[in-house]
Symmetry: C2
Subunit: 258 residues, 2 copies
């Protein structure tokens, strides 16, 4: 029926036809695709071919398949949650972003050690002792989830009594405690994207073909020495991060030549 005679694998031709149907609005967001049996009839191909085509669309994040129900076009205009990665200060009181997250449950505190990844960021050897606190955050409006982790080295807590007492305090209070202990704080943050691990997929309730956006934030003292490390993981399709950038005046001699 539909003109499927162009080159390329059969299943890609079927996938192309469905892609066009989605793009043209024949299958609007949220609507079901024809069932496998119907696609077999319509394009006169076998079941494996149809399933291969569906599998391709799935891994592109175009559709979502629900066992026993059918395949559905994903809504492109996903309501995005914007996470402000800015920090404001009033005296020694800090405020982080502007989203009032809810906590899925009480934060989990534990003791752990630096790894090959976290060690260098904290300028510590591997195997140094850390306080860890994990939180599952939920945005009340969209239901979007995020995983937040705070890692506080013992060496940092030693110099800030309030931290040693309560390393699992909300992060604003952690910043405040460090500021009151005389630290002048700056932060540096790295962002990357990757496919989720199995446990992240369940914890963040991620659908198929959705990447995780993963940030590591290092809190630094006056001499740029790392004090604590935070980790935030969220659904790349649901959440976006925002940063404010101001031009640093280059008083140190510029190393870049162009």
């Amino acid at each position: 029926m539909a003109g499927i005679e162009r080159p390329g694998p059969l299943y890609q031709q079927v996938a192309d036809a469905i892609r066009r149907g989605i793009a043209s609005g024949d299958y609007p967001p949220g609507s079901p695709l024809p069932s496998e049996a119907q696609l077999i009839e319509r394009y006169e191909v076998s079941r494996p071919t149809v399933r291969n085509a569906i599998s391709a669309l799935r891994s592109e994040g175009l559709i979502e398949v629900r066992h026993g129900k059918g395949s559905f076009v994903k809504s492109v205009a996903t309501p995005l949650l914007t996470v402000e990665r800015t920090i404001t200060r009033t005296g020694t009181a800090y405020a982080v972003g502007s989203i009032p997250w809810e906590q899925a449950h009480e934060p989990t505190g534990y003791r752990t050690q630096t790894t090959s990844e976290t060690g260098p960021l904290l300028a510590l050897d591997e195997g140094e002792a850390l306080f860890g606190t994990d939180r599952t955050l939920i945005d009340p409006r969209t239901g979007a989830r995020a995983l937040h982790r705070t890692l506080i080295p013992f060496s940092t807590a030693d110099r800030v009594p309030a931290l040693a007492e309560n390393p699992g305090a909300p992060i604003e209070e952690v910043y405040g405690a460090m500021a009151e202990a005389g630290h002048k704080l700056t932060w540096s943050e790295t962002v990357r994207a990757r496919m989720p691990q199995a446990d992240e997929r369940t914890a963040l309730e991620l659908p198929d073909a959705t990447p995780v956006i993963h940030t590591l934030r290092v809190t630094q003292g006056a001499r740029s020495e790392p004090l604590i490390l935070e980790e935030l993981r969220a659904s790349g399709s649901q959440a976006q991060l925002t940063y404010r950038i101001t031009a640093d005046t280059a008083r140190q001699r510029p190393t870049a030549r162009s």
Copy 2:
């Protein structure tokens, strides 16, 4: 041979066995997995089952499959390219990041219009005229690619003659031209992650199961009015972005201008 009798689908049991082999170091990064024929023999399952297992590992980003050659464990310690999203200023001269990108080819200039996505970011209606410039950037050390786009509204170029003359200039020069025209610049940037479109997959030379990290940077004038828009897209597995954050003292109340 390997104890495969636990519950769950057969192909997942095979995938689990291979996952364990990767985790335990039996299959170190870069090394080939057994061929499909060998996996069929070892686990005594059919070819579709083996292929299903491999497909699962593939979509998790654990392995990479090359036609005619075999399946290979992806190197976990991918050499990451760090893209500094900071800006430094010396007088009216700006420097962006610290990576000396190479250009794959001459930048492509064109005229276009605001869309439903770019319009709001530039505080313009849909359909306003823009200068566009596209670049394909290549990091000479890692070969990692990135796509950069600059969008300059006519209304901005009108007030900065240097921009109207050469809207495709390097972005540092664009900043400099705006500064010399009397604008005091700040930037705000949003980051998100998603699966690539087919054209992005080829342009960025992305392997399977690698997300795209996508940033939108708005250059703002003294009254926070948007002046130009930049877009950067890069491989989420190869590239990571870094930001520096300093605490804003909260004397101004946050402008809810959205």
